[in-house]
């Protein structure tokens, strides 16, 4: 297992009022993303635990691209990864933002 941590400045606050959301399952080639609205509006944080060791630079690129596209300000992402490919990671992160921006608790 490898633990990775990323801090980013976001252009703006993520929409919606939900406090948290979760998407995905930890399985081979899959991952879960728990997203929580716990940070100041301009900040974004990702804590990743991955079964695939040695892919820090790939995560760095995927995360930077994600923050640039979705501006997830105020959100902390906690990821448990079972060795997902970068495209799956991008999809799950996008789903997590979409979920927490929905109406609901």
């Amino acid at each position: 297992m490898e633990d990775l941590s990323f801090q980013h400045k976001a252009r703006g606050r993520a929409g919606g009022t939900r406090r948290s959301a979760i998407i995905g399952v930890v399985a081979s080639g899959n991952l879960e993303v728990l997203v929580e609205r716990v940070l100041p509006d301009a900040e974004c944080q990702l804590e990743i635990k991955t079964a695939a060791v040695g892919f820090g630079p790939v995560w760095d690129a995927v995360v930077a691209d994600f923050v640039e596209r979705y501006s997830p300000g105020g959100l902390k992402f906690s990821v448990n990864d079972g060795g997902a490919r970068p495209d799956t990671v991008s999809l799950r992160l996008a789903q997590a933002v979409r979920l927490i921006e929905e109406d609901g608790q």
Binding site: S20, I22, L34, T50, R69, Y70, G82, V97, E101
Partner: protein, 313 residues
């Protein structure tokens, strides 16, 4: 900018069309219960993860592979637990088991709220061997205590990991079971039997053999499952509502009736070498065609056979 997403289907339509087999544990719970009624206990944000997986350098899941909580079914309160069959095969670990035990004990203490268990499991999580085995024993005890106190415990089985190992034992303790064709129920899985008894005993690569032995159709025809449903969340929802309405009180008489039912079953079919022999012995014409029957035709056939455990369990 947020990319455009397809609008989600309206809720009722989603319940009707969503495959129970394909859905995640969370989606099953969300769609099975009345819309918006589910409240989770010990949710993922509490991060009650397995204390054992780290030792094996394996990834954790925030809910340890089981979603538990309360909600409403057709307007009435229910407790619900759903295993996630894709995380470590839905296997029972220490935390995973403790969440289900707590739910069952709440049902025991309240007595009027039934429990729905959405099984999707290969059995005990091998990395947590002793803790997992203990969890199975404690869950079985908790099921019987809840039932003795008056709470109904219904198992719904239609997930990709089936219901194997200790999960099969717990299912055997429930008040009633609903199953789809994909929802296999057994204790030893195909590979386990083949490894221990040889390929002549059970060829695990013979998928047709696996399905007709452990699959939902045979379990329904044997009376091990009370209701057979098509693989939709709506089907399981309807089955759960029907079973909760049909289950009678639990006591010594019912246990004795269950013993009689199982002894009868063994007497009637103990010498059968294959599920097809059992179905033929039950009087089903063209027994060899049962695996190919579509769900609606199979359900009417099963209702004619009528072998359920209405008075037993």
């Amino acid at each position: 900018m947020t990319a455009p997403f397809k609008q989600p289907l309206q809720s009722a339509e989603r319940v009707r069309t969503t495959s129970f087999y394909e859905a995640s544990a969370r989606t099953r719970v969300e769609l099975l219960l009345d819309a918006g009624s589910f409240v989770e206990f010990i949710g993922p944000e509490m991060r009650e993860v397995s204390p054992h997986l780290k030792i094996f350098d394996l990834p954790e899941q925030f809910d340890d592979g089981i979603v538990v909580g309360r909600g409403r079914l057709d307007g009435s309160p229910v407790f619900v637990a759903a295993q996630e069959g894709r995380f470590m095969g839905g296997a029972f670990g220490e935390v995973h088991g403790a969440k289900l035990i707590g739910l069952l004990r709440a049902a025991r203490d309240i007595t009027s709220i039934p429990v729905l268990i959405l099984f999707d499991t290969g059995g005990v999580r091998l990395q947590e061997a002793n803790a997992g085995e203990l969890a199975i024993a404690e869950i079985m005890r908790a099921v019987m205590e809840a039932r003795s106190a008056g709470a109904k415990v219904v198992g719904l089985i239609g997930g990709r990991s089936g219901c194997y190992g200790g999960g099969g034992l717990i299912a055997g303790c429930c008040s009633a079971l609903a199953v789809s064709e994909q929802g296999r129920i057994a204790v030893s899985g195909p590979e386990v039997i083949e490894t221990n008894r040889g390929v002549e005993e059970f060829d695990s690569r013979d998928r047709a053999l696996v399905w007709r032995t452990m699959g939902g159709k045979n379990r329904r025809l044997l009376g091990a499952a009370d209701v057979f449903t098509d693989d939709t969340v709506q089907g399981f929802r309807d089955a759960a509502v029907a079973l909760l309405g049909a289950i009678g009180p639990f006591g010594l008489d019912r246990l004795k009736a269950e013993q009689v039912r199982l002894a009868d079953r063994l007497r009637s079919f103990g010498t059968c070498a294959d599920a097809i022999d059992i179905w033929a012995a039950e009087g089903i014409a063209h027994a060899e065609q049962v695996p190919d029957l579509p769900a609606d035709q199979f359900i009417s056939l099963a209702n004619q056979i009528g072998r359920t455990s209405r008075d037993a369990r």
